[in-house]
């Protein structure tokens, strides 16, 4: 969205965290993503902005959706995509992340999409390479394209972000999605409530832009325009963080009954993959309020936009 009298240029070399972006940056990415989404819906192929470019998908953690999403996005833009089989690589034999970065850099890719189990791992790698680096999730820190695709999905469903009440519920402590999405929504003027059991709620969430942090889901969901459920890692159910799936679902599961207390036109989101019957009832996940499939669709569009902006500006 251009502001009259100002010229805007996307000036970032990498996408590591929503924290690095301004409101204008986010709006620009969302606008561009929307164009890509509309083109796909209309059956049009986008311009080959990344023709003759190489994108490396470097996933140190298993991921099907995010990796495929980036791969499809890069290929639609005409890039050659190389998936690095990290599990079998020398990284497992003691090679440090920096050594891996320098090795990949020597192959002169145009962009590296990286997921790593350590918070800050992607930033460390970005310091050692010359190409654009896109964070596809680092530890429990950030997953910026997820934050952007969530924001885009909401904007399309609601027509705006400003003033919306968004409730994000689940394992906030370990969620990079919560950190990214909360920041992005806050920057665009939404009022974000974070909710979860006390054992899975970190301190200081106001510094990510959360308006409220609560342990009572019934209170948190009241009047919400958007309800986003987070995936619960089932290994947290062994009594260390939570007593049982049954108790979790009773207190924090999204049911049709609970959804009635949200705003009448509230939408339901989930970054996936879902644990049906643990954090969300199947009827809600598949119901008419659910925009979960559209989140996946917008994921490709956002990644097309980000790749175009980062790799494309290097031409």
């Amino acid at each position: 969205m251009a502001i009259p009298g100002y010229s805007y240029e996307f000036s970032h070399d990498h996408l590591l965290s929503i924290e690095d972006l301004s409101r204008l940056d986010i709006e620009h990415i969302l606008d561009l993503s929307e164009e890509f989404a509309e083109a796909t819906r209309a059956g049009r192929r986008p311009e080959p902005h990344l023709k003759n470019m190489t994108v490396i998908n470097l996933f140190f953690e298993n991921s099907t959706r995010t990796m495929s999403s980036f791969e499809i996005a890069a290929k639609r833009l005409g890039a050659d995509v190389i998936a690095m089989p990290v599990a079998q690589s020398s990284v497992k034999k003691g090679e440090t992340l920096i050594d891996t970065a320098m090795t990949l850099n020597a192959m002169a890719p145009d962009a590296i999409v990286i997921r790593h189990s350590a918070s800050g791992g992607v930033k460390l790698l970005s310091r050692k390479v010359d190409c654009a680096v896109i964070n596809a999730g680092d530890g429990t820190h950030q997953h910026p394209t997820q934050g952007l695709l969530d924001t885009l999905t909401i904007r399309r469903a609601k027509g705006r972000i400003e003033g919306l009440k968004v409730t994000i519920c689940g394992d906030i402590l370990h969620s990079r999605v919560a950190r990214s999405t909360t920041l992005a929504l806050h920057l665009l003027g939404a009022e974000v409530t974070l909710c979860g059991p006390a054992t899975l709620m970190p301190s200081g969430t106001e510094t990510w832009g959360a308006a409220r942090a609560m342990n009572d889901f019934d209170a948190a969901i009241k009047g919400a325009d958007v309800v986003m459920m987070l995936r619960l890692q089932l290994e947290r159910m062994n009594g260390a963080y939570l007593p049982s799936q049954r108790e979790y679902f009773r207190n924090f599961g999204l049911t049709q009954e609970r959804l009635k207390t949200a705003a009448p036109d509230a939408i339901v989101m989930h970054p996936g993959p879902m644990n049906r019957g643990v954090e969300i009832e199947s009827a809600v996940a598949d119901g008419d309020r659910s925009v979960i499939t559209e989140q996946v669709e917008m994921g490709v569009a956002v990644r097309e936009a980000v790749l175009k902006l980062l790799a494309g500006r290097r031409v």
Partner: protein, 423 residues
């Protein structure tokens, strides 16, 4: 016998409350006189108005020798120490093998004499192999020169074991040094627990872990009559807890790492692994409280907590990188920064690195007094310098001070009357 007079020096000695311009006369490795003009000096050195203070005594140094010589050896650590004005260093027992018997204590002492230019004092392990389940030979190691006993970074988990060990140490008149920490609370932590760690997606080391560990250690010291050295306190509340224990008659000394007086949790910045230390840098309030406690004389020793790590241990994502920082070359400058800020007098800044640690380990140096060993430094308290890791002398170059502008620099270092470093 050569008699040497160091003239025109600002003599500083916290033990004797000396701050005067004068001459130090040394002979045969000992101090002959302080302040008085020299008579019959064979050699005169003009200090050109530099400060002359006792050499620093560092109660917490890790060298990696034996077992991890790629990190640091006694020889390389001593070079780094002398550049920082440290003339006596106590080395930690958590090496490979662990320093938990007489032969190994003697190995460290001998190796120190052979390869290091500083004085080297071994700290003995409190439990065999630091495993926490069997008492080490505290009495015999003490007899062989171990200056205190510690489980290093792995405080004894079993309170019953610690109680017995402390009781035994008390009967040998041995000091037990303990890192206040509750293992379970800080298991997966890598930086101070709180909003900053949560935002960065890093596991937290909570302050409660220090308080619970400290409270246990102080109670057991009280029950057994053991003298406790609280190793590297890091929070404001810990200071209050120690004060209150001392009021009850608990014999407790306390140390703080120099870098905790300089940095807070925000200095971790963009996952800067040089700032990954344990205990972690805490909040600014904690840092301020530590400085106040130092000014009030509540802190007995400032240590370098020198724990160098090679690049392969630090060039990793923050969560995976090793804890520890090289510190020998920056202790004095960290303290002098506080003098520059009018937070400490020069004598108060020197006390916790000279006379006070000397008193704890029962050694005669650390003071400018007739008959004391001639271990001293000449330093310029206002000389600015840029700390660049490439220019550090330590074998491993990981310093949180890398890139910082520092003030105050050691120009010459003497051990036993011999000049062992000059800049």
């Amino acid at each position: 016998m050569t008699r040497t007079a160091i003239t025109n020096a600002r003599l500083l000695c916290p033990a004797g409350n000396i701050d005067t311009i004068g001459t130090l006369v040394i002979e045969d490795g000992m101090i002959l006189s302080v302040g008085k003009a020299a008579t019959n000096a064979d050699q005169t050195i003009d200090a050109n108005g530099l400060c002359l203070a006792p050499g620093l005594i560092d109660l917490r140094v890790k060298t990696g020798e034996p077992g991890s010589e790629q990190k640091e050896t006694l020889a390389t650590a001593s070079r780094s120490a002398l550049a920082g004005g440290v003339t006596s260093m106590v080395v930690m027992p958590d090496t490979n093998p662990v320093i938990d018997d007489v032969a190994l204590v003697q190995f460290i002492a001998n190796r120190g004499r052979e390869t290091a230019r500083t004085r080297v004092y071994p700290a003995g392990a409190l439990t065999k192999g630091l495993a926490g389940d069997a008492m080490a030979e505290i009495g015999m190691m003490r007899g062989s020169g171990a200056v205190f006993f510690t489980n290093g970074d792995m405080p004894v988990e079993n309170a019953s074991m610690l109680r017995r060990t402390m009781g035994y140490a008390a009967s040998c008149d041995a000091i037990v040094s303990s890192r206040a920490n509750d293992h379970a609370l800080g298991q997966s932590g890598v930086m101070n627990a709180g909003a900053v760690a949560a935002r960065m997606g890093l596991g937290g080391l909570p302050r409660e872990a220090e308080w619970i560990g400290l409270s246990r250690d102080l109670l057991l010291a009280e029950a057994t009559g053991c003298t406790l050295l609280v190793d590297q306190v890091s929070t404001a509340r810990s200071i209050e807890m120690i004060k209150s224990a001392r009021d009850r008659g608990v014999k407790a000394y306390v140390s703080v790492a120099a870098h905790h007086l300089f940095f807070n949790e925000l200095d971790v910045g963009d996952y800067l692994t040089y700032c990954k230390v344990n205990p972690p840098f805490r909040t600014e309030n904690d840092r301020q409280a530590l400085i106040e406690a130092l000014a009030d004389g509540e802190i007995d020793a400032v240590v370098s907590a020198h724990d160098p790590q090679p690049p392969e241990e630090k060039r990793l994502p923050f969560g995976e990188a090793a804890f520890g920082a090289a510190g020998l070359e920056t202790v004095l400058s960290a303290l002098l920064a506080l003098v520059q800020d009018d937070r400490l007098s020069l004598l108060d800044a020197l006390r916790p690195v000279t006379s006070s640690p000397a008193h704890i380990i029962g050694q005669p140096q650390g003071r400018l007094a007739e008959g004391a060993p001639a271990d001293f430094i000449l330093f310029d308290p206002e000389k600015p310098w840029l700390c660049e890791r490439e220019n550090l002398v330590s074998r491993s170059l990981n310093s949180p001070f890398d890139g910082r502008r520092m003030v105050g620099r050691v120009m010459q270092t003497y051990v036993g009357g011999e000049q062992v470093f000059s800049r």
